[in-house]
């Protein structure tokens, strides 16, 4: 594990637990098995503020399968399913 403050391991936001905080590294729509096409998913994520460098925090989880998640993205809160959040690579 190289999980230090400076070089945290990259992971998809879709696997993050409640309370996780991190910064978006990049988007990788092909890693999410979303119903949307890669381009559409990436566009929508950007439109909701999921861009590189944005601070994210997982605030809440749903009851069934801890899904969906409520994510603080900079200063707004977005609800998203884990399936789509797999496209957001954070560290």
């Amino acid at each position: 594990m190289t999980d230090t403050h400076d070089t945290r391991r990259e992971m998809p936001l879709g696997l993050a637990k409640r309370g996780y905080t991190g910064v978006i590294q990049h988007l990788s729509a092909k890693d999410a098995s979303s119903a949307l096409s890669d381009i559409e998913l990436e566009s929508r994520l950007i439109e909701l503020g999921f861009v590189e460098g944005a601070r994210v925090e997982v605030l809440h989880e749903g009851l069934v399968g801890r899904d969906p998640i409520a994510v603080r993205v900079d200063n707004i809160t977005i609800a998203v399913r884990r399936r789509e959040a797999m496209a957001i690579i954070v560290a």
């Binding site: 439109e47 909701l48 605030l59 989880e61 009851l63 801890r66 707004i76």
Partner: protein, 623 residues
């Protein structure tokens, strides 16, 4: 010289306070209609600027971009680009932003600028931003964006004064200098670049405190708790249903007795004959039987609008997403389905919030299975006539239990149908993503809510005045013609077209235990389900119809077997016959085919359920 009407368009992201700004500008001078060919609500309002310019303003559907990924968003794009059919190109676009949350709006604005339309950025809810310590360098922002910027507090009196003054100023120099439209759909790279540009401008012009809205965080800690949140949701629903069914009752009775009195007045004033019968039985009791639902519709919309304004609706969708997802439904389908308990019509209209076509279609198809309030009179009549009012297990009222069972049967069948639709018809289809902004909580504003309820009540009454009225006239005609021969002793309806149709249908309905009287009553029930109750009263004794209707329960108890009564209850869980619902489905799906499909599948379910219920009941000795 009278200047031509100035056309404004309001554009903004969802939750930007666009609608409250629209309400603040126009008050109740609003017109709600549909865009031609699509089922997107078109809201237009009118006002006069301080300098006396007449202004029309259109509240366009909220959107995060001009890509147009749903019919709503396509309207917004086409309208701004001047491509929407039958619409004037807006003279001035007001881009509305929630001042506490500028990122997404500034990005949208940068995209909007490419359309070349004259534009103003309205920083709405500026008071909330100031209270949270957010400060915006308005002048610098205007310079960086190249667009005039004005602050507003839509919900406060005079909070839009600056905006009005600026509108006057800009419209005065809106010479014929049409801007160049260089807009085209953005690629992902351009989208990302625009967001970066927006973020740069914001970091230059806005200072954000690192202090999030603590109230929202505190409320969400309870309301979005995996278990606690569901309990809160259940409590809210409980209060809502209590209100819809208990609080509305006195008002509904008042309306009902008002219509009865009006009918009696007509009966007493006009000479016996066709005109009297048409006015009393066709018009007044027909339209009246639908208008009595106005209190329930107002109460359900009061709750929906309050929860929506407060910011809770998105949370409800969040909580229900996975639970409904098991049945192939989208989290956003929760609200439309909930409204359908009052009436499927507002429910089906509310499916517009679902942006995926197939998710929306599934929701529309199952919405009529939710036990709407029009079924209640039928349920209560039959239950009180046939189900003994005793307690089971000492504390549960049997009648209440049956009522609950009927509701549960409706919900269960809706989930099963949704599952089957997903499984058989849309099999190639993976669930649409659930991505939704959870806005900060806001105190709902009474004025905005009042305007919202007013426009919806108006829509409902207009429909009662047109579609439902014409259905009523048709049904009255079927039930009144041909007239009985002189000296006939049987009820007049026995001689009518309705009776002929009913008797023709009777052999088909015999296997489910329905006699021809029920078959006849089902025809007027097409207008609105609860009319079947009055129709039964009419069939069993049209003379003195009113008293008979009051005693109808006792009459039924002697004329029907328990098996027939239970079969009738089972039929009404599905009861496809509601002309208004079918008309709304036709309008919202834009297809006669889906309307026919809904009617057909509900008819099949109703028949199957009644057949099963009747035969099981007969086999158990209730025949």
């Amino acid at each position: 010289m009278e200047l031509p009407l100035l056309h404004l368009a309001l554009v903004g992201t969802p939750n930007s306070g666009k609608t409250s700004l629209f309400n603040a500008l126009t008050g109740s001078r609003q017109k709600v209609a549909n865009y031609p060919g699509v089922t997107v609500e078109r809201k237009e309002g009118f006002f006069v600027t301080p300098q006396g310019r007449q202004v029309s303003v259109v509240d366009l559907p909220g959107t995060y971009s001009l890509r147009g990924r749903s019919p709503d968003e396509e309207i917004t794009r086409d309208f701004v680009l001047g491509k929407a059919s039958g619409e004037t190109v807006p003279d001035l676009v007001l881009c509305v932003a929630d001042s506490t949350n500028l990122r997404l709006t500034i990005r949208l604005l940068l995209e909007l600028k490419r359309t070349g339309r004259p534009m103003i950025l309205v920083l709405n809810m500026f008071d909330i931003a100031s209270r949270r310590g957010i400060s915006v360098d308005v002048e610098r922002l205007a310079k960086e964006l190249g667009v005039p910027v004005v602050t507003s507090i839509a919900v406060r009196k005079g909070g839009t004064a600056d905006l009005l003054a600026l509108t006057d100023e800009i419209s005065a120099r809106l010479a014929a200098e049409p801007g160049e439209n260089s807009w085209r759909a953005l690629s992902v790279a351009e989208l990302r670049a625009t967001q970066r540009e927006a973020d740069r401008i914001i970091s230059d012009c806005v200072s954000l405190p690192s202090r999030p809205d603590t109230w929202t965080a505190r409320i969400d800690a309870i309301v979005l708790h995996p278990v606690g949140g569901l309990i809160v949701l259940a409590l809210i629903l409980f209060v809502m249903f209590q209100a819809v069914f208990a609080w509305a009752q006195p008002l509904m009775e008042l309306l009902q007795s008002g219509f009865d009195a009006l009918g009696d007045f007509v009966h007493a004033t006009l000479p016996e004959g066709l005109l009297q019968s048409f006015l009393q039985n066709g018009v007044i009791s027909g339209v009246g039987s639908v208008i009595v639902f106005l209190p329930q519709i107002i109460i359900i919309f009061l709750f929906i609008l309050l929860l929506e304004d407060f910011g809770y609706m998105a949370r409800a969708a969040f909580l229900m997403d996975r639970i409904m997802g098991g049945a192939g439904l989208h989290g956003r389908a929760f609200i439309p389905l909930l409204s359908s308990f009052a009436c499927a019509i507002p429910g089906i209209m509310a499916t517009r919030v679902i942006d995926n076509k197939r998710d929306r279609l599934t929701t529309i198809l199952i919405a009529p299975l939710m036990t709407c309030s029009a079924r209640i009179p039928v349920y209560t009549l039959i239950i009180s006539a046939f189900i003994p009012a005793r307690d089971v297990w000492g504390f549960i009222n049997l009648q209440g239990l049956v009522m609950f069972g009927l509701y549960a049967a409706g919900i269960t069948s809706a989930l099963v149908v949704s599952f089957l639709i997903k499984f058989f018809m849309l099999r190639d289809y993976a669930p649409a993503p659930f991505m939704l902004e959870l806005p900060d909580y806001k105190m709902p504003r009474l004025k905005s809510i009042a305007i919202g309820i007013f426009t919806r009540a108006k829509m409902f009454l207009q429909r009662a005045g047109t579609t439902i009225f014409s259905m009523m006239v048709l049904i009255w005609f079927l039930a009144s013609f041909p007239q009985p021969p002189a000296g006939a002793t049987e009820p007049a309806i026995d001689f009518s077209l309705a009776a002929m149709i009913g008797k023709a249908l009777a052999p088909l309905l015999a296997p489910v235990g329905f006699n021809w009287q029920i078959a006849v009553a089902l025809i007027p029930g097409m207008a609105a389900r609860e009319v079947a109750v009055a129709a039964l009263g009419t069939v069993y004794a049209i003379e003195g119809g009113k008293e008979a209707a009051e005693q109808i329960g006792q009459v039924l108890a002697t004329k029907w077997s328990l098996a027939t009564a239970l079969s009738m209850l089972a039929w009404y869980i599905f009861a496809p016959q509601c002309a208004s619902t079918l008309a709304v489905i036709r309008r919202e799906t834009g297809s006669w085919g889906w309307m026919a499909a809904t009617f057909a599948y509900m008819l099949v379910l109703a028949y199957a359920a009644s057949l099963l219920t009747y035969n099981v009941a007969v086999a158990l000795g209730a025949g």
